[in-house]
Every structure is written in C-alpha cells, then in structure tokens.
C-alpha cells in the first residue's frame, strides 16, 4: 500500500492505495468523484520529490502527494 496525500485546497483525507506504479494511483483516483476534477491540474510528488511519469515505480510505504496549482507571495 502507498499513502496518497492531498495538499492545499483539496479537502480530502489521505488514502491508502494498492499500487506498484503511479499509473495504479491514477486509476484509483480517476474513479474517486471527490478528487477526479483536481487531477488535470495537480503535480505529483513521490516521497517529496516531484515526478513527471506515470511509470514511476512505487513500493509499500511510499508517500504520493498531489499538489494543486500554487500561488505564493
């Protein structure tokens, strides 16, 4: 299981998801009505490093974070 966390304005508790790559996480989230609309605009970090490929491998205990559009300053 990997832990999926939702940052900033996404009002959602963390999930535990069975996943060996980010592609598995994407599939799980696309069927989640609460979070589906955020997916197009979110960046993704694995263990606090931003990643850009769905083929990113995951192992049990990894942390996947969704980062919606930002506006610091």
């Amino acid at each position: 299981m990997v832990r999926v966390e939702f940052l900033g304005p996404i009002q959602k508790e963390a999930l535990e998801v069975e996943a060996s790559t980010l592609r598995d996480v994407a599939a799980a989230l696309q069927s989640d009505a609460e979070v589906k609309d955020w997916l197009e605009s979110c960046a993704v970090a694995v263990n606090d490093t931003l990643v850009k490929s769905l083929d990113t491998a995951l192992k049990p205990g990894d942390k996947v974070s969704l980062l919606p559009p930002v506006c610091g300053g």
Partner: protein
C-alpha cells in the same frame, strides 16, 4: 536561509537583519523583494498553506544555483492569515555583481510564483476561499489525469 512565520513576516526586522548578516561578506549588491497584501476585491486579507518539505528542496536547489553564481539567497514567507497592508513574502539576493543580482531576483521571484508549493486563499466575509484563478499548475502537472 528559509524562514517561515505564522502571520505577517516581520519585514523591517528582516531587511535590516539580512543586511547586517552580510555586511562583512563583501557582496556589492543586495536586492530584497517584498510582497505586501493589497486591498482589492473586498478582501480582508490573504491566507497561505505551505508544504514545507518540497518548499525546502525547491529553495535548496535555488541556493545551489546562487552559490554557483557567487551569490546567496534568503527568503521568508507567511503561514496562515495575513492582513491587508502587511507583508507575506520577503526574498533577497546578495551578489558581488549588480547584473547577476538583478537577473537572479527576477528569475527567483518568477520561479517562486510558478513552482513554490504554497496555496493562497482570499479572506472574505469570514471565509477562506482558494484563489484558483490566480494560481498556476506546477510544471509537469496533470499526469494523473491522462
């Protein structure tokens, strides 16, 4: 150096302290950037969420880039609510060279706006409303929607 504050950043103290910290470091140019909450659209202030682990690694990567150019960066940002006419963001570059400093403060602040994992909310009528229309997807966003 990255400093986070609950509420407004202490701008005056930071501007002076950073100047004094580097007074003997032989930098010829010091350029701070100060972001202050404007009274507009009927808001009573702004509020911020920060994801610190990624903010820190983003800042560390910039500090490394600055070091390669002989410069250093300092930055402070607010967490939580920040009232009108107070400041939520102070960043600064110190460099031996003017042109390096002028380019770096521009590039740093622009990348900060595009990449730093900070979320902004309008405070209006007692509510905290995500500033979706002024927010920017981080580079590489959207892979989970494919």
């Amino acid at each position: 150096m990255l400093e986070l504050f609950d509420g407004p950043v202490p701008t005056e103290e930071l501007l002076v302290r950073w100047y004094q910290e580097e007074a003997g470091s032989n930098y010829g140019a010091y350029i701070p950037f100060i972001g202050t909450i404007r009274d507009e659209d009927g808001i009573s202030g702004l509020s911020f969420d920060i994801y610190e682990p990624i903010l820190e690694s983003w800042f560390d990567a910039w500090q490394e880039k600055a070091t390669e150019a002989g410069a250093i960066l300092k930055m402070a940002h607010s967490r939580g609510d920040v009232p009108l006419h107070t400041s939520s963001y102070v960043a600064a570059v110190f460099s031996p060279k003017r042109k390096v400093a002028l380019k770096m403060i521009n590039d740093f602040v622009e990348d900060f706006k595009a990449s730093a994992p900070i979320w902004k909310y309008d405070l209006r009528d007692g509510k905290r409303l995500y500033a979706a229309d002024r927010s920017t997807p981080i580079s590489g966003s959207g892979i989970l929607g494919e």
